[in-house]
């Protein structure tokens, strides 16, 4: 020891604890099965109106026809994506990017305002898990029955119930997988082919894949997707503010919690409205206790609200011990209206992207051209002494009808266009046309002149042009 740090002799008392043996645990934890209790209520009724239209839409849309083909059909081999009257091509993928940006900003805006309503009411993971939970309820019984069944030894009853449940699960998953593949491979042929064991290898693979994925996600993984895989749960903190509507327990009202007789003056005894019945915990599909406060696992499904309200009614206390409310309101802080900077900002960005997207779709030209100027032969002189450049014009008809097109060239006075400059292209097809531009060398002032090839439809409704060059000789022989 040096002079700076004085050394001291300390006598420890006899009962001083020097070292506590820590408890060792495995870092990889087996998932604890969550048994949810079934309840009904106001918010669960809302979920019927959000869930069913989406489900019906998903399952029925591939069966709707538009003309000779499926209305919504993503034809991957032809690289054409048909949505009712519009056909999108890979060249239109920027529209998909815009759509994704809109989805993102819509998510941010809604989340800042209403919290995680997407998770609780419309997310496919939630909707399919609810369906699978219903299947579980129908085959294995209610919560207590199911807990006992899992703890029981294997019996005929248990085997039959388990088989029934998994059969129902696989059936629903198969329908889901089949429908998904039906968006890419016409479903009206897919279903009969499947029943006749006449499917292509890739179709079999993808149907099996999506069936397996649905079965695994909704049957086994459930809340693990929300807790560990989905990024939404993790960045909710970035989007929430003090005025975001979230499912919250009101500790001011509820604490201190405890059981009591129904008609006594509980407040005099220092008790709050919460009777610690644990109903909110039993109904929770992600297995949390909402009374612990805002948690990332909570998907805002409002099952705990409905459960608690039911209990409050029975106790003849006012509803709303757990309710949709804001942090500022709970803590009696200054509340802000909807016109707060964060929400307005997200809303403005969303409105802007929606406008851009709509304008892009409305003004979209279903015609695309590519001009390939001959490069091996920069120019050549014809027998008559004219200077000639050759171009290969690729014309893509992105519309759903055959079109007649006309090509003209502008940029130099006296420039003539030769070759097949008026032609027809079938719907969804690409044609190559070879064109030659000729000019009298006396009329050509420069070696390299920019010119434009303009393609129009017969009725002049569509016009697309592309710039290219006309090259002439440097030395005139």
């Amino acid at each position: 020891m040096n002079d700076k740090i004085p050394l001291q002799d300390i006598d420890l008392p006899d009962d001083a604890v020097l070292h506590v043996e820590p408890e060792v645990y495995d870092l990889y934890k087996k998932r604890e099965q969550i048994y949810t209790r079934k309840i009904t209520g106001f918010f669960q009724k809302i979920r019927l109106f959000t869930g069913w239209p989406l489900l019906l839409g998903y399952f029925l849309l591939p069966w709707i026809n538009w003309g000779t083909r499926q209305a919504v059909f993503f034809d991957l081999p032809s690289r054409q994506f048909h949505i009712i009257g519009l056909t999108f091509w890979p060249q239109d993928f920027i529209l998909l990017a815009a759509l994704l940006i809109i989805s993102a900003f819509a998510l941010f805006t809604i989340t800042t305002w209403l919290g995680r309503v997407w998770c609780g009411y419309t997310c496919p993971q939630t909707v399919w898990t609810s369906i699978f939970m219903w299947a579980e309820q129908v085959t294995e019984g209610n919560r207590n029955t199911r807990i006992k069944l899992d703890q029981d030894v294997w019996s005929v009853n248990k085997i039959i119930r388990k088989i029934a449940k998994h059969t129902l699960w696989i059936g629903i998953a198969l329908l889901t997988g089949l429908t998904f593949v039906g968006y890419f491979s016409p479903i009206r042929e897919l279903l009969p082919n499947m029943l006749a064991f006449n499917l292509g290898n890739w179709e079999i693979f993808w149907i099996v894949f999506f069936t397996g994925a649905t079965y695994g996600n909704a049957g086994w993984l459930r809340e693990q997707v929300c807790m560990y895989m989905c990024p939404y749960a993790r960045f909710q903190a970035a989007m929430f503010d003090g005025d975001t509507l979230v499912v919250s327990y009101d500790p001011e009202r509820g604490e201190s919690r405890g059981a009591r007789k129904k008609d006594i003056d509980y407040q005099a005894e220092g008790l709050g409205d919460c009777i610690d019945c644990q109903m909110c915990v039993q109904v929770c599909p992600v297995g949390i206790d909402i009374r612990d406060g805002l948690q990332y696992e909570c998907i805002n499904c409002a099952l705990c609200i409905d459960a608690c309200d039911e209990i409050m009614d029975k106790m003849e206390y006012p509803k709303g011990l757990i309710k949709y409310t804001t942090e500022n309101r709970l803590q009696h802080k200054q509340e802000h209206s909807l016109l707060r900077p964060k929400l307005l900002g997200y809303g403005a960005a969303l409105a802007l992207m929606l406008t851009v997207f709509s304008v892009a779709i409305i003004t979209r030209t279903p015609l695309q051209i590519d001009v390939l100027r001959d490069r091996g032969v920069l120019y050549h002189t014809t027998v008559e002494g004219m200077i000639e450049n050759s171009y290969t014009l690729k014309v893509l008809n992105m519309s759903q009808a055959t079109q007649r097109y006309q090509v003209t060239i502008v940029g130099i006075d006296g420039l003539l266009l030769l070759g097949n400059s008026a032609f027809e292209v079938a719907a969804g097809k690409r044609t190559e046309v070879v064109l030659r531009a000729q000019i009298d060398p006396a009329l050509l002032p420069n070696v390299n002149t920019p010119v434009e090839l303009i393609v129009t439809t017969a009725d002049n409704s569509t016009l697309v042009s592309e710039e290219t060059r006309f090259i002439g000789p440097h030395i005139r022989y």
């Binding site: 506590v20 820590p22 060792v24 495995d26 990889y28 934890k29 490069r375 032969v377 002189t381 050759s390």
Partner: protein, 297 residues
């Protein structure tokens, strides 16, 4: 690759996989204080602790599954240095298989075309479209996408042929190639005679010339040029000697360029396509080339 680099790759690849597995297993045991349910790392920094919550078991099993997959993959496919993999897969072999499959798929189609003459294929729109594709990919670079040619590359749309313009001859030209051989005459006849014979040649093609100089060129022409280009200048398709009486000039028809051709000679070259395209494709593209001069015929 050399054995050093092979070993380098093997060691790093297997080492990384082993390292991942070790990290996965080495961090398995966490410690927490008894009596609490909260798992922390145990460290405290300025009163701030760090959670050490368990990871899901399915995640761990999934990770191990990817390790098993990786090892299986490295056994079956090339990845460990120079080891070829148990399935003997290679990009070249995969490509060869695709070529074979395509050849089998199109064999009947090509055979059908090959059995018809080039003149007969003129009515077959599909054949001409296929021929146009082959032309665009192989021939357009020199002859232009419209086939109108350039300085030194013949115009295929006219009816002026160096070696003959019927279907079979066109095919022979494309399959075997051609080598034009115009000798350089300057060292042999001298500049004055080059000038004179050029003037005579221009007269042969019907242009306004200096008659005196042209007359001097006649004797030179008959001595040296007529052997290939024929006495009247109409050319010789057996040799590929151009017809000098028309107005089609492969290397330019101005007086200076004609003199240049005579003075320095020319050595045009049409590359042989038999190894590059094969008989069937040459047959199709010959049909297309033949169709280009249909208007001129």
């Amino acid at each position: 690759m050399s054995s050093f680099w092979s070993a380098w790759i093997i060691i790093i690849t297997l080492g990384t996989i082993a390292f991942c597995v070790w990290i996965l297993l080495a961090n398995r045991k966490g410690e927490k204080q008894p009596g609490t349910d909260v798992h922390t790392t145990g460290h405290v920094y300025d009163g701030i602790e760090e959670y050490d919550n368990p990871l899901p078991n399915w995640w761990f099993k999934g990770f191990m599954l990817t390790v098993v997959f990786a090892l299986g993959y490295l056994v079956l496919y090339p990845g460990l240095g120079s080891y070829k993999g148990a399935l003997d897969w290679s990009p070249e072999a995969a490509w060869q298989e695709e070529i074979q499959a395509a050849d089998e798929r199109y064999a009947d189609l090509y055979a059908g075309y090959a059995s018809q003459t080039i003149e007969a294929l003129q009515d077959n729109e599909q054949a001409l479209l296929s021929g146009q594709r082959i032309f665009a990919n192989n021939c357009a670079v020199c002859h232009g996408s419209a086939g109108t040619g350039a300085y030194g590359f013949p115009n295929l749309t006219d009816n002026d042929w160096l070696y003959g313009g019927d279907g079979e001859t066109i095919k022979t030209t494309i399959i075997g190639g051609r080598n034009g051989a115009m000798p350089a005459w300057l060292p042999i006849i001298g500049e004055k005679n080059v000038n004179a014979v050029a003037e005579h040649v221009m007269k042969l093609s019907g242009r306004e010339v200096n008659e005196d100089i042209a007359k001097q060129g006649v004797k030179v022409f008959n001595t040296y040029c007529a052997a290939c280009h024929a006495a009247d200048g109409s050319g010789n398709q057996m040799l590929g000697a151009p017809n000098l009486t028309d107005n089609v000039w492969l290397y330019g028809g101005s007086p200076e360029l004609i003199r240049h051709s005579i003075r320095n000679g020319r050595a045009g070259n049409m590359p042989a396509q038999n190894l590059l395209l094969g008989n069937d494709k040459v047959h199709l593209v010959s049909a297309y080339v033949y169709s280009l001069s249909a208007k001129a015929r």
